[in-house]
Amino acid sequence: MRVGIVCPYSWDVPGGVQEHTRDLAEALMDLGHQVSVLAPADDDEGLPDYVVPAGRAVAVPYNGSVARMAFGPLSANRVRRWIKEGNFDLLHVHEPAAPSLSLLACWVADGPIVATVHGATNRSRALHVAEAVLRSALEKISGWIAVSEAARTTMVSHLGGDAVLIPNGVTVRRYEKAEPLPGWPGEGGALGFVGRMDEPRKGLPVLLRAFEKVAAERPGLRLLAAGPGDEAEVLARVRPQVRDRVVLLGQVSEAVKVRAYHSVDVFCAPNTGGESFGIVLAEAMAAGAPIVASDLDAFRRVLRGGRAGELFENGNSDDLAAAIGRLLDDPERRASLSAAASAAVRDYDWPKIARDVVKVYQAVLPAPQGT
């Protein structure tokens, strides 16, 4: 199948939608499909050969902040030419309600279109104001995919219609094997955390309380945390007796993040809410880390009801401390959780997710004539 994928945001800027389109494109190609990705790019150098640059995105105020979007006659012409030259069986646009390339693609395209909604933000006002213009473009989409329940709710309430839920994938082979960071996990054991440190919903405060408790009884235990946030502020919230055993890496590259997952004995996902899927959790599973996670619905589902990772009562640091203690004392249980996590995450491996996406493609393609 010849698939044209449209990414609305600049390819050279890191972001969830960009990563998703990259992984999807590569997984589809592995399945034997021909893929071309159209995306804005500041610099045409160094793009993968399946990416067609659509020019620079322009910074404009939108939805309460400044975003970089591609619009205007020139962008529209580029989309038109790409569609014409690509001769695609089907277009797959991402985040089509954002005022950028995907929306333009819907506007100029004729053939079958599949769309994926990523965000769960409330942009009903703008959608409402420009409804007529949007509707004629979005009506051409014949199949909708949402990456999370929250994204589906946004889509259903603002645009109407329904969407198939297909979660974000994780490219398991990128996480499976890696060297631990030098000196980790160490003799006394190590706990891990990945996520924004200054975002309370990611749950670092809950983990810090639990760590203080467990660390008081285990003199060698350390905590390794990676993610953006003010490091001094985080450390100031930790009891001085155990402060030197909290190691903050700050924002790290993908390679270091993968190694961090392999550097700990127990990986903690103490998120307190708002997590639609938990890509971090899936990554830790792909790395085969023994996991303790809060019992959010989404986490419970991903962790197979507790078989692929321990669950603790959301927000309860005593419960978390107890679960951590149990796992640290039980290497066999850790090994079995690790194996179960590696097996469970296969459901979210990109090749598998991409096959589900292809089924959506097949559902919107015109039925073959005859037979």
């Binding site: 105020p61 205007g72 006659p73 020139l74 005022p99 213009v133």
Partner: protein, 188 residues
């Protein structure tokens, strides 16, 4: 005291009274001027956002540009405290959309395009003028209220100190063009 001196004192007091009341009257007139100027500025801004919404819904632009314009125009109309910021955002988005390469060619000869762009030009000019005159009125009023007599005698009464309205309202870059005017002109 000689009658002449008393007469002079009475005359002096009367003159001071007349002067003070003239100053108070002048301040009052200035405040009225500020209010009138503000009303026409508000009207001009509302007209501008209406025309932008109309442009967004016209189908002349691509849907992405339409959505961006609609979002900004809507924010400008519903903004309360952040009015200046929201109006500046509207100006900037308008400027960005109009200055996209190929914009003029893409709407040329389309139904209703000339009228809409003409209206847009008229409202941008109204905003430009109304804001200039309003800030002018504010400047004079603020200066008059800062004079010591006005402060000591509280000649302005309880009227709030008028504030400047600072926004980016230059939809087309360039200022004084060859026409020798700094009025914004969208077309040609």
């Amino acid at each position: 005291m000689s009658p002449l001196i008393s007469l002079l004192i009475i005359a002096l007091i009367a003159m001071i009274g007349v002067y003070v009341s003239w100053r108070a009257g002048r301040l009052d007139r200035l405040h009225t001027r500020v209010e009138t100027a503000r009303a026409s500025l508000d009207a001009a801004l509302v007209r501008r956002s209406s025309v932008v919404l109309e442009l967004a819904a016209s189908g002349l632009l691509d849907p992405a540009a339409s959505l961006l314009l609609a979002d900004c125009a809507h924010n400008a109309r519903s903004a309360d405290s952040g009015r200046e910021l929201a109006e500046s955002d509207l100006t900037r988005t308008l400027r960005t959309v109009l200055s996209q390469p190929g914009f003029a060619a893409s709407i040329e000869g389309r139904d209703g395009a000339d009228e809409l762009i003409g209206e847009l030009e008229a409202t941008t000019q109204q905003v430009f003028l109304a804001r200039k005159f309003y800030n002018d009125a504010v400047a004079v009023t603020v200066a008059a209220r800062r004079r010591w007599l006005a402060r000591v005698l509280r000649l302005a009464g309880g009227a709030p100190m008028p504030e400047f309205f600072e926004i980016d309202d230059i939809v087309v870059p360039g200022g004084m063009g060859e026409r020798g005017t700094d009025m914004p002109h969208l077309a040609g």
